[in-house]
């Protein structure tokens, strides 16, 4: 498990002077599930890419357990991208094996059983549906025993029942793995269902406009009455929050 301490002053787009992220400051407790909500184009993916080391983060403060996130090669990171990003030339088994340093057949089997793909190990990604491919991507992320797991709108463009199934799956996997989670979404009810805390971001150049602890008991229900009540209370307080503003008019 890993604690995050993030402070980003100014992050520019590559080869440009346009600011994507401005004065982003937050921390995440070990094992906490944090959801980040913001309008599209608000640099949420950029933020995750900076945490994962894909985007340049020099001169910014990104600490994991008080050490620089990108210096310590030791900690394990799982990243579920917006697209599954599986290698089409590798079977499901091989795709998961790819990210593991040693052969671990039994582990892959257990994981695939957990995501409900026990009999699909020898299939190629193109033989699976979109939802199944995403499940493989999630299994791959959890295969490395991640201390930190990043998810970038992983349930985007899935039909509602499939998305609901995958959310439940994610809850269970997180429970058994205990990783620290940063989850990017634009769906408030999804965030309420999953997260311990929600961070709201503004339009570009993005900064954090609001943070709120989701103090509802777990396990939660998809669109349960308490969850819906909590959501409408928040929306009554900040009607513009999903479009990136906390103004009350």
């Amino acid at each position: 498990m890993i604690a995050l301490d993030i402070a980003i002053k100014n992050k520019y787009y590559a080869n440009s002077t346009a600011v994507v992220l401005k004065d982003i400051q937050f921390s995440v407790k070990p094992g906490e599930f944090v959801a980040i909500i913001g309008p599209s184009g608000s640099g949420k993916t950029t933020l995750l890419n900076m945490l994962s080391g894909l985007e340049d983060a020099t001169a910014q403060k990104l600490l994991g357990n008080s050490k620089s996130l990108h210096d310590c090669k030791e900690y394990q990171l799982g990243y579920v991208f917006q697209q599954p990003r599986l290698m089409p030339w590798l079977t499901v088994n091989e795709n998961i094996q790819l990210v593991l340093p040693t052969a671990q057949e039994r582990k892959i089997k257990t994981l695939l059983a957990q995501v409900g793909l026990a009999d699909k190990g020898d299939y190629y990604p193109k033989q699976l549906s979109g939802g199944m491919q995403r499940r493989v991507a999630i299994a791959r992320a959890f295969a490395v025993n991640p201390e930190l797991i990043l998810l970038d709108e992983p349930f985007n463009s899935l039909d509602a029942p499939t998305a609901a199934k995958l959310r439940l799956l994610l809850v269970n996997l997180c429970k058994s793995c205990g990783s620290t989670v940063v989850f990017v979404t634009h769906d408030l009810s999804e965030a309420i269902y999953l997260a311990d805390r929600i961070i709201f971001m503004s339009n570009s150049p993005s900064s954090i406009i609001h943070q709120v602890n989701v103090n509802l008991p777990k396990p939660r229900k998809e669109s349960g009455s308490t969850e819906l009540a909590w959501q409408s209370q928040l929306m009554a307080q900040y009607p513009q929050i999903l479009s990136g503003s906390v103004s009350t008019d």
Binding site: S52, G53, L54, K73, L77, Y79, F81, Q83, R85, M87, P88, W89, L90, T91, L98, V99, Y124, P125, K126, Q127, L128, S129, G130, M132, R140, V144
Partner: protein
């Protein structure tokens, strides 16, 4: 009709057309299939056909392997590094357009009529075309997949062999196919000009005797071998590479 029967059918049509024209023309300059086969059997049992074939095939194999390895390497470097590409682009265009004959003559003049000069000439002729194809492949490599490798901290060799290189396989296959046919044609010229064995040398000798049936017999032998290589090596490789890529979504 299954693909195999389809292919056989085309071969039979080709052979009968040939035979028909031969009967019609009725000239020693256009020998019938039977005369060609007779000549083939004659040269085969004389022994020199097999020797020449194996000599030429060895040359093809050696220069093919060297050209593919170097070409793939240079192509990857040029496709992934913009700066190196800019530097060497002109060089590549020059190399592509130097006539094969010029490289062959220069190699023989500079290094003498030796085996290594022959191989070198073929390799120099082939490398640029491999580079061009592989460079295109390396340019369009999917960065998203490479980022997966980076995030999961895959080793350099794993990233290269499991994530990067598979994206180039179709390009490598295409250049290998085109390469084999180009190389064996160049090898024949190289042999004709400066070697005293191989199919090219034999063809030259047959030409001096105006032995057209013999020339066709050698051609027949070589094409059969290329067909065997296509069916035994390239087609199965195609299937191997296509795994996972061409399935329809479930």
């Amino acid at each position: 009709m299954s693909p195999l029967y389809g292919r056989l059918f085309m071969l039979i049509i080709l052979a009968s057309t040939w035979q028909g024209i031969a009967w019609f023309v009725n000239s020693s300059d256009f020998p019938s299939l039977f005369i060609v086969m007779e000549s083939f059997i004659y040269h085969f049992f004389q022994g020199e056909l097999l020797v020449n074939l194996s000599v030429t095939l060895t040359r093809v194999l050696i220069s093919f392997t060297i050209a593919m390895i170097l070409g793939v390497f240079i192509g990857i470097v040029m496709g992934t590094s913009k700066r190196i590409n800019q530097l060497s682009d002109t060089l590549l265009i020059i190399a592509l357009n130097i006539p094969a004959l010029v490289t062959i003559l220069l190699c023989y003049i500079w290094f003498g009529l030796v085996e290594s000069a022959a191989i070198l000439a073929v390799v120099i002729n082939k490398i640029p075309t491999v580079v061009v194809m592989i460079r295109e492949g390396a340019r369009v490599v999917d960065n998203d997949l490479l980022n997966v490798a980076k995030v999961y901290k895959l080793s350099l060799s794993k990233t290269f062999f499991k994530v990067f290189l598979p994206q180039l396989y179709p390009y490598i296959m295409a250049s290998a196919r085109a390469g084999l046919s180009l190389i064996w044609k160049i090898v024949l010229v190289v042999e004709l000009l400066g070697r005293s064995d191989g199919v090219g040398f034999a063809l030259n000798t047959l030409f001096q005797f105006f032995d057209i049936a013999g020339i066709l017999a050698y051609t027949f032998a070589f094409i059969s071998i290329v067909l065997v290589i296509e069916n035994l090596i390239f087609r199965p490789l195609d299937k191997l590479i296509a795994r996972g890529v061409h399935h329809d979504s479930a």
